[in-house]
């Protein structure tokens, strides 16, 4: 038992101090008829050597070597700087608990404060919380805030919000019997006329910008329409885009949320992710979850504590703003280290590279006969292309060449069976993109999958 220090002698001596005859004696409150009848049916025990061999074999059954992937849709393959990995692996951070004793947790508390500050700067909002589970649950919780703030019972969501986030929204709003109205798309972005029809009496519009297809939404026009309707604009944003794009605070968003996995975390088969949430100051007492604030100690030294805790479940119980307590603290630290490392220049350069390569890829693919961009609008890091053949079959064909060309759109959007969502990051070289284009061209030309 590598993790249990008590020896038999320790046990016997401890039982003597307790005054018990055996460990079984200590368990006498557990009625015999409720006891497990047999040992647990789980495998093991394994030695470290056996464990590493077995789990490494499982890891090896996931194909990551020799693959050029253009999968995105909210979770992106950015490079993770070595320094980020090393800082996040300091046991002082990862083996600590939620900072209940502030004086012994200043490291965690200050990093959360810095994370909140970075999110406020990127989003152009006033306040931010310590993190949420992921961008999808953050968006749903933001809509719950808006329902509480406006006392209205309808949430409008654009069909250009990622399908996963819309599904989570439906799950989380279902018990409240909130009316969820989905606004259809026109040229891949929110249809403004349909939006106008949906907004009356709405608590919130959930908008993703850039949207699921990578397209820039007409954020300013939408912001004006939403605010004049009395609803709150909840903007779900890609943090990398905020190096270049106008922040949500500039186009009328009252709450900004998003997925922060792209800030220094691996894809990890989709988790852990990092939800972030920022808002106008007037909403601070409605925010869910932990918030860290700066203060001073008894000697006038600067320090940090969890603040506004009367919003939270351990005090307010059924009247709390949310049930969230454990969040994604270590992933928030990861994002803080990542943004600090890249800094003002590096983060901008990253965004410029991502969008430049995405545009190079879009040009290269749309030059192929029979391939065209699905939508005419400006895009940031990903784009949808329509192929002359079924997208799923193209994906399967290209996989044989070690290329994963993107996410087929037909699963989530009617009439898009021949479309792929192609995503590009700074890790793609020009040669990677060229290889996608030439492989796709070859498949289409030989009509192997037509």
């Amino acid at each position: 038992m590598p993790y249990v220090p008590n020896t038999e002698r320790d046990r016997d001596e401890m039982l003597e101090v307790i005054g018990a005859s055996s460990v079984e004696d200590l368990l006498r409150d557990v009625p015999a008829e409720l006891r497990a009848k047999a040992p647990l049916e789980v495998p093991g025990p394994l030695s470290e050597i056996e464990l590493v061999r077995h789990v490494s074999e499982l890891a090896a059954r996931n194909r990551v070597e020799g693959v050029v992937s253009f999968l995105g849709g909210g979770i992106y393959d950015h490079a993770v700087p070595a320094a980020v990995r090393h800082v996040v692996r300091l046991p002082h951070f990862y083996t600590a608990y939620t900072p209940y004793q502030a004086e012994a947790s200043q490291g965690t508390l200050q990093t959360i404060y810095e994370f909140q500050s970075l999110i406020v700067r990127l989003t152009g909002m006033d306040v931010a919380n310590a993190s949420m589970y992921d961008g999808a649950t953050a968006a749903a919780e933001a809509c719950l805030m808006a329902i509480d703030a406006t006392k209205r019972r309808k949430v409008v969501v654009s069909a250009s919000v990622s399908p996963a986030a819309r599904r989570v929204l439906r799950t989380m709003l279902a018990p409240d019997a909130v009316d969820i109205v989905e606004v259809p798309l026109r040229h891949g972005v929110t249809d403004l006329a349909a939006l106008d029809g949906a907004l009356p009496d709405a608590a919130a519009l959930l908008l993703q910008h850039p949207n699921y297809f990578g397209l820039l939404e007409p954020a300013r026009e939408i912001g004006e329409r939403v605010s004049s309707s009395g609803a709150l604009l909840v903007a779900s944003v890609d943090p990398v885009s905020l190096a270049l794009l106008a922040p949500p605070g500039s186009y009328g968003a009252e709450i900004a949320v998003g997925e922060g996995q792209s800030l220094g975390s691996p894809m990890g088969f989709g988790g852990p992710l990092l939800g972030f949430m920022a808002a106008r100051k007037k909403h601070v007492r409605r925010l869910p979850g932990r918030i860290v604030g700066a203060t001073v100690d008894a000697h006038g030294r600067r320090g940090y504590v969890m603040t506004l805790q009367t919003r939270e479940q351990h005090i307010r119980r059924e009247k709390a703003t949310s049930n969230i307590c454990t969040n994604e603290g270590l992933v928030a630290l990861t994002a803080a280290v990542y943004l600090s490392l890249l800094g003002e220049r590096g983060f901008r350069e990253l965004a410029v590279q991502v969008t430049s390569k995405a545009h190079y890829a879009a040009d290269a693919l749309s030059r192929i006969a029979g391939v065209r961009l699905c939508f005419p609008g400006a895009f940031f890091r990903e784009f949808a292309v329509e192929l002359p053949v079924d997208a799923g079959r193209v994906r399967d064909e290209l996989a044989r060449a070690g290329i994963w060309p993107g996410i087929p759109c037909g699963r989530d959007y009617d009439g898009m069976d021949r479309s792929l969502l192609v995503s590009v990051t700074e890790t793609h070289s020009r040669a990677d993109i060229d290889s996608l284009a030439s492989a796709l061209e070859a498949i289409i030309a030989t009509r192997r999958v037509s």
């Binding site: 220090p5 008590n6 557990v30 009625p31 497990a36 009848k37 040992p39 025990p45 470290e48 464990l51 789990v55 890891a59 996931n62 909210g74 700087p81 692996r89 300091l90 002082h92 990862y94 600590a96 608990y97 004086e103 012994a104 947790s105 200050q110 990093t111 404060y113 500050s117 700067r121 306040v127 589970y133 992921d134 649950t137 989380m172 279902a174 409240d176 300013r220 106008a246 997925e259 988790g271 852990p272 601070v284 001073v296 100690d297 600067r302 351990h314 059924e318 709390a320 049930n323 603290g329 600090s340 890249l342 800094g343 590096g346 901008r348 590279q353 390569k357 940031f380 996410i407 993109i433």
Partner: protein
């Protein structure tokens, strides 16, 4: 004094910034560079840079390392927060979760290219089911509270499917605050029932509260006083008698591993905290993982997708994700949950095996009882008798000398130890809730007990030495009222 002119131990990353520095270099751009204004239009681009700090790699590493050194953490010493199960986090599990085959896989990868990941999820779900006596497990909830909400949504879907969602969920007043918050999010009304003096459910009060509108009862067992609900069979039968479901908050599962399987004794559903019972690190506030296990009659309602195994490979693969689940409550996470946390829990279960898991529970109970026995003379022990994995002391005696539970907690920090959970459960005055876990040695327990006894003596002889604590931590006691009044949650300076 404002925060800005206070004395500073470690400046913020913004104060350390110096224009022109960067800590990371990208490869030269090998495609034509896009001009954002030309591509997106002047309306759509930022007019001013966001104001990120500018530092080199050594600046960044030193800043965060200096901050790290201000943290107490479980690799350093005991972290005995009650109900938090701060056990040791095995190192090999961190290495395994970092394997590129896990870390670099996209959730939209086709099943044929991520068989290892789906297989791990499938088998972890099976192991958790067997450990708890449940039939099916969803790994999707990202934390314990997310598991509770998922569980309550499953309860709701089950009752709706049977014609009436019902209105109430009953929680004992000793429950974790997340329970009432979670059931409220699921659209239920919280009905609180008093617990007896031992924290156990008052079965008569429960009987009176139950009716045809009772959707479920949420139970923590062992309860938050560290006491096993020995009348749990009666409780479960009463709830089932009105058609309600019984939910187990699995926060305290560490005491039950290999001893009691909740599914065997009639619980309908529960959540697990992989970041408590199954040794995955808490990360200073997450990521956690809060899977939900259910009996067969609730399986159809679990979140979508579910990892499945098809040994006949009729879909061409052995492991796949089942998306077509018409009765499911839907998705509760953008992907499949905190997968890399699952890798660590899976490794932990395999390392321990059946006998090892039972030894975890036995030693968690032994360690808690040893500490309780050592401390019972110097502090009030409201609940007599043996405890399970944790116990609750009261500092009422010390409070009479002007030393509160909070003061004792702060004084422990001066010994280089972490404090217990204080002021919870709410039903005990001046509560000190202590859960040592099985990974503390006897020497570590003695060090903690000696410190608490010394503090109790100091409370008698020189109370001010306790109320002045902490004096050796990086900062002294912090002004929480000021933090809430002069709210400063983001750095405004350059």
């Amino acid at each position: 004094m404002s925060v800005l002119d206070a004395k500073v131990l470690e400046p913020t990353v913004f104060e350390l910034s110096s224009p022109g520095r960067t800590g990371y270099r990208l490869p030269a751009l090998d495609v034509p560079e896009l001009d954002p204004v030309a591509a997106f239009g002047p309306q759509a681009v930022r007019t001013a840079p966001p104001g990120l700090p500018e530092l080199t790699e050594p600046d960044v590493v030193r800043h965060f390392t200096r901050l790290a050194e201000m943290n107490h953490h479980v690799d350093r010493a005991i972290y005995p927060l009650g109900s938090c199960t701060m056990k040791y986090n095995p190192k090999v599990n961190e290495d395994l979760a970092g394997l590129p085959g896990f870390a670099a896989i996209h959730p939209e990868a086709e099943p044929q290219f991520c068989q290892g990941a789906i297989s791990l999820m499938y088998h972890l779900g099976r192991h958790l089911a067997r450990i708890s006596g449940m039939d099916e497990v969803s790994l999707q909830p990202a934390a314990g509270a997310a598991g509770e909400l998922t569980g309550m949504l499953v309860v709701r879907a089950y009752h709706e499917d049977h014609g009436n969602p019902r209105t109430n969920v009953i929680v004992p007043d000793s429950a974790h605050g997340t329970n009432p918050a979670s059931l409220t999010l699921a659209g239920y009304h919280a009905v609180e029932i008093p617990s007896g003096p031992d924290g156990r459910i008052d079965v008569d009060a429960l009987g009176k509260a139950l009716d045809a509108e009772t959707a479920a009862v949420m139970v923590t067992n062992p309860n938050t006083l560290g006491v096993f609900e020995n009348r749990i069979r009666e409780v479960i039968d009463l709830v089932h008698g009105v058609g309600g479901l019984v939910y187990l908050d699995g926060a305290n599962l560490n005491a039950s591993l290999g001893i009691v399987r909740p599914g065997d004794i009639g619980f309908d559903l529960m959540h697990y905290n992989l970041h408590k019972t199954f040794s995955t690190p808490h990360g200073g506030g997450g990521p956690g993982s809060g899977p939900v296990g259910v009996k067969r009659h609730l399986a159809d309602y679990l979140p979508t997708p579910m990892p499945r195994r098809d040994e006949a490979r009729s879909r061409g693969v052995e492991y796949y994700l089942e998306h077509d689940r018409p009765k499911s409550i839907g998705k509760v996470h953008a992907a499949y949950g905190n997968f890399l946390v699952m890798v660590k829990a899976y490794a932990y279960i395999l390392t321990l095996g059946p006998a090892g898991l039972r030894r975890v529970a036995e030693n968690a109970v032994l360690n808690a009882n040893y500490l309780q026995a050592r401390l019972a003379g110097d502090y009030d022990l409201p609940q007599k008798g043996y405890c399970q994995h944790e116990f609750v002391l009261s500092a009422s005696r010390q409070k009479d000398r002007g030393v509160k539970a909070l003061d004792i907690a702060k004084r422990l920090l001066d010994y280089g130890l972490h404090a217990p959970t204080v002021y919870f459960p709410l039903i005990v005055k001046e509560a000190l809730m202590i859960e040592p876990t099985e990974t503390e040695s006897r020497a570590s327990l003695d060090r903690f007990a000696d410190a608490l006894i010394e503090i109790a003596k100091a409370a008698e002889s020189s109370p001010e030495s306790v109320t002045a604590a902490p004096t050796t931590t990086p900062v002294a006691r912090l002004d929480e009222a000021r933090a809430a009044k002069d709210l400063n949650v983001a750095w405004e300076g350059r």
